[in-house]
């Protein structure tokens, strides 16, 4: 087992405080390597009932973590999906048992590139195996086993979380009664790969990165990582949303400074987002996770394509997209619906009209949250009835 203590060098946190299991079962990765006895960090909210029929698994996105709601004990900020998950919310933790695990390759307690490689007692860095979405999902299945959950009431996730969910349903067709993939895709588009490459190149261009060996020097390629985050933030907004939020407004000044300081609010926003991010995320993790996203192509895994991937699905799906999302477009989400339809699966689809872009799934978008709540509550009634019969 790799030693994790002290590796969160840029955070004031005790890693022991994070819930985790050690996955003993060897996990054969898509790249051919095998990992075993690795940590998988997770968090749960609400209570699992006696029938174990109220469990909801949430898959997090690229820069997310297991702290879905409440206060993230590492960052002391709100959980990333506090708008949707919590007491009385769309995913009501008074009613449901919500589980979320940090993906492998991540940096919030699950095995990742900043952990110690048992072969040489050095941080993995680029010796960490290249992982895939499928590897992430397989690791999380071990957690369900550990928690004694045979069938989830629902599994959900947005963005990369949605991609994990599609993989989860294809690989484990009997594990979820219902599924809500949100703002995602069944394969990464050229544009998405290009944006991820931009993020990676920004990190690699930072001399501090040093081929990923910065971890042992207890530093972080902050500049590169911040630029990578800025790229992401642009892609999460829409043109209209950005114009409305920032326009050409200046940042706490009356006129141009005739300098390269952040004159515009939008610049200031990006810089703030970028540099706040380096406090909580590991640069190598960004390389590994974006790679996993780029490699994701569900139809490639199955002869006969996407329809074949969803064959024999008993899971009831609700696909949701956002009209102004140009990162994971309505068209891409609809392709998932078409494939599910063609495979005969039970599928619903809703496009939420909004200017908020890809970020919409994290925001207080009422129509979205209402739709999500309506679906999950109705699925719970169905699932209970089915179990009774």
């Amino acid at each position: 087992m790799p030693s994790l203590a002290g590796l969160f060098f840029w955070m004031n946190v005790k890693i022991e405080d994070i819930n985790k299991i050690i996955v003993k079962k060897p996990l054969k990765l898509d790249c051919g390597k095998t990992i075993n006895n690795f940590p998988l960090a997770y968090e749960t909210y609400g209570k699992l009932n006696a029938n174990k029929d109220n469990a909801i698994l949430v898959f997090h996105a690229l820069t997310g973590d297991q702290f879905v709601t409440g206060t993230n004990p590492i960052t002391n900020k709100e959980g990333w999906w506090i708008t949707a998950v919590g007491p009385g919310k769309a995913i009501d933790t008074d009613k449901y048992f919500v589980i979320c695990a940090n993906v492998i390759g991540g940096c919030m307690g699950s095995l990742g590139p900043k952990d110690t490689n048992p072969e040489n007692n050095q941080p993995y860095g680029l010796d960490f195996p290249v992982i895939t979405i499928k590897d992430m999902v397989k690791a999380q299945e071990s957690l369900l086993e550990h928690l004694g959950i045979k069938k989830l009431l629902c599994a959900t996730g947005g963005s990369m979380g949605g991609m994990q969910l599609l993989q989860f349903c294809a690989t484990f067709p009997d594990k979820a009664f219902s599924a809500v993939p949100i703002a995602c895709s069944s394969s990464h588009s050229a544009q998405n790969i290009a944006l991820n490459e931009l993020a990676r190149q920004a990190i690699m261009a930072d001399p501090v990165w040093d081929n990923g060996k910065y971890v042992s020097k207890k530093v972080q390629p902050k500049n590169g990582l911040a630029v990578a985050r800025m790229v992401g933030h642009i892609s999460y907004l829409s043109e209209k949303g950005m114009q409305e939020k920032f326009g050409r407004k200046l940042q706490e000044k009356a006129d141009y400074e005739f300098s390269f300081n952040a004159d515009f609010q939008v610049e200031s926003y990006l810089r703030h987002q970028g540099y706040a991010f380096v406090e909580r995320f590991d640069a190598n993790s960004i390389l590994y996770i974006t790679r996993a996203m780029d490699y994701f192509d569900l139809s490639k895994q199955y002869k006969g394509g996407l329809v074949e991937a969803f064959k024999n699905q008993n899971t009831k799906f609700l696909v949701i997209s956002f009209s102004s999302d140009w990162l994971y477009t309505t068209k891409e989400n609809k392709d998932i619906v078409i494939a599910l339809n063609a495979s005969g699966a039970d599928v619903s689809y809703s496009e939420i009209i909004t200017d908020k872009g890809h970020d919409s799934f994290l925001l207080n978008e009422l129509e979205f949250l209402k739709t999500l709540k309506g679906f999950i509550d109705s699925m719970y009634e169905k699932f209970k009835n089915e179990k009774r019969i």
Partner: protein
Amino acid sequence: MKKEFKVIAGLLPNNTRVLDVGCGDGSLMSFLREEKNIEVRGLELNQENVQQCISKGLPVIQGNAETELHQFPDQSFDYVVLSQTLQAFYNPEEVLKNLLRIGKAVIVSIPNFGYWKVRMKLLFFGVMPVTKTLPNTWYNTPNLHMCTIKDLFKFCDEKNINIKQVVGVNEDKTSLIKKSNLEIKNLFSKLGIFLIG
């Protein structure tokens, strides 16, 4: 439930697979699922209606029947239902062709422009008819291609579409329409419900 839906439900056998195109808030789908154990799917444009269907646990796809029927595979449903919307499409012929491709049989209902009150409005008052089944005025009606029961009969004949059964509806009364009573029923039915394919 409205009379029209009762007639449509009556035409559908138990335990079948049905696609309801323009399913609204899902009231027909709910009835079919609960009373006839029918496996239902809906297609609906309006966001609020979609939300209502989802809350009722009814599978519904938000989309436009005019442009998005292609996503359903050939013969993937036993029946496809289209209630009072055929006349609102830009290309009703294409939509009908698609419905017949998707379903082994199709149920189409139309507001009958041949109903006597409709004819009277135009004949005696010289204005576009506004009635209970046709509540809009000429400038805001969604109906682009109004037709009569007789028109749809003729259309099916010309396109070699097999008519299995036609039911005329007037308030609470229903009657079977055949070629022999077509003229009179075309005059006295507010709605025509066609089972074709």
